[in-house]
């Protein structure tokens, strides 16, 4: 395997990021912008105006053929048979134990053609899993390298898209709908989806046009580039899971409190394990929390109640909107009640005698922050 930064992949927008003063970091094998002007400023800008995100690292698969719908229905947890063309749906790929291989969004492009958008770090294993599980009737293609993805998210994103699409009406494009549009000669699949909780759009188009589309969008005064740092705090305020942190192969969608994205009235890989879990019950579930003050818990902090370990933090950061710590944790089910007091502590040995070890926090239903516009009822695309 490749180590270090010399073999990281770059998106077509590297030069643009450097010009904008980005701090670049390795992420899932990619050299990605973590921030430009600062995480808090970019976070607040997305909540108040519009943020532009380079999400070219994520994967795009296509599945075509007369049996594609049936094949996909058996592989993902969300319902595909009744998904109309022009709409998309969030769901999971599960392994035989019901563990989450990935979270994804399935777009039905036409009755016999689907686009599947997956996380960057899971492209190879998703591809292998899907190829292994589909019959020859459906044609699978991994187009991750050929497709660029940019997200425009924020309360002003609707006006911005409308002004770019003069005549091509998208004003009433509802959440989880998508259309094909043409912006200054570039054919774009435009979907009303996102990972921030704000009104927002995701744009899929040929990677060769990435710089042009980035420039077109950046030309708006209200649009600022936003890095993966703010993308993470934005999704965390919404309680959206990030693959590899909050959800993984060791957890089922039930444990992750994401049962609403699992359609149990059909057959799919992993269903037997989920049925078993339904019968036997689960011990720990994913829940949101907020800290008492600005001090923030981080991933892997232990969760305790009255000195007893009852869980583990899987995402934790400072919330720029609430100005206090926030995050997600797996916690014994009986403690998942609004306002339940918990203590979050680092796992490494305490080095200083005067160090306050535990952070006082409380269980909080997600989203821990409610955006002005009601965009929060559904999960976004898979993480980053």
């Amino acid at each position: 395997m490749c180590e270090g930064t010399h073999c990281l992949k770059n998106t077509p927008l590297l030069e643009k990021h450097l010009e904008a003063g980005a701090k670049m970091v390795p992420f899932s094998g990619w050299n990605m912008p973590v921030q430009y002007t600062g995480i808090i400023e970019e976070h607040i800008h997305t909540r108040s105006k519009a943020g532009l995100f380079d999400i070219c690292h994520m994967g795009e698969f296509f599945l075509k053929g007369p049996s594609a719908a049936k094949e996909l229905d058996r592989l993902v947890t969300c319902r595909i048979d009744n998904l109309p063309a022009g709409r998309c749906r969030y769901g999971f790929l599960l392994n035989d134990s019901g563990g989450i291989i990935d979270d994804l969004i399935v777009f039905r492009i036409s009755p016999e053609e689907f686009m599947i958008v997956v996380n960057a770090g899971t492209v190879a294993k998703d591809r292998a899993w899907i190829e292994e599980h589909i019959s020859p009737g459906a044609v699978f293609t991994d187009s991750s390298g050929d497709i660029a993805k940019l997200d425009v998210q924020g309360p002003l994103s609707g006006e911005i898209m409308a002004s770019l699409l003069n005549g091509q009406i998208i004003g009433d494009l509802k959440k989880y709908y998508f259309v094909r549009v043409n912006i200054q000669g570039v054919e774009i699949l435009l979907s009303r989806t996102g990972y921030t909780g704000e009104r927002g759009y995701e744009l899929f188009f040929p990677a060769t046009e990435a710089v042009r589309v980035w420039d077109i969008l950046s030309a708006f005064d209200d649009v600022k580039p936003v890095g993966l740092g703010a993308r993470d705090t934005l999704r965390m305020e919404m309680g959206y899971s990030l693959y590899g942190n909050d959800i993984d192969e060791a957890h089922t969608p039930f444990e992750a409190n994401l049962a609403r994205f699992v359609f149990m009235e059909k057959d799919f890989v992993g269903k037997e394990a989920l049925l078993k879990q339904q019968r036997e019950g689960i011990d720990r579930v994913l829940a949101g929390f907020i800290c008492e003050g600005r001090r923030s818990a981080r991933s892997h902090f232990a969760v305790s109640v009255e000195g007893r370990n009852v869980g583990e933090v899987t995402s934790g950061a400072f919330s720029p909107c609430l100005k206090r710590g926030m995050g997600l944790c797996y916690i014994e089910k009986e403690f998942v009640t609004e306002g339940r007091e918990i203590t979050l502590s680092p796992r490494e040995p305490v080095q200083r005698p005067d160090r306050r070890t535990g952070i006082k926090a409380s269980v909080k239903s997600i989203p821990v922050y409610k955006p002005r516009e009601n965009e929060r009822s559904q999960n976004g695309t898979p993480g980053t």
Partner: protein, 127 residues
Amino acid sequence: MVPQELKYTKEHEWVRIEGGEAVFGITDHAQSELGDVTFVEFPDTGSEIKQFGSLATVESVKAASDIYAPLSGRILKVNEALRDKPEIINQSPYEEGWICRISVADAMEERNLMDASAYETYLKESG
């Protein structure tokens, strides 16, 4: 350019020695690496500290890092303004964003610190 009159540690703290007392904080390089500072965990006033021992934590949006004492001594005062506005560290790392004032136990320990030009060289070498 780093302020000429200050002394520096390898962990990117600066210290201003004023007679038997000293004031310290984190350098511009350190605040820039951390990003937006969101919380400072101070040591208790009156507590004894040892040179290069961990004594405070500075948190940013996504991470927490330890702050090490540039000199041995005793905590006289902490910068209370940082409790509500820790971002002052980002805005003014060498002035308004100071973290602690201490009484210096052993002035000879200054030899273990870098002067401005040595710190600049250190930044270039480690960058």
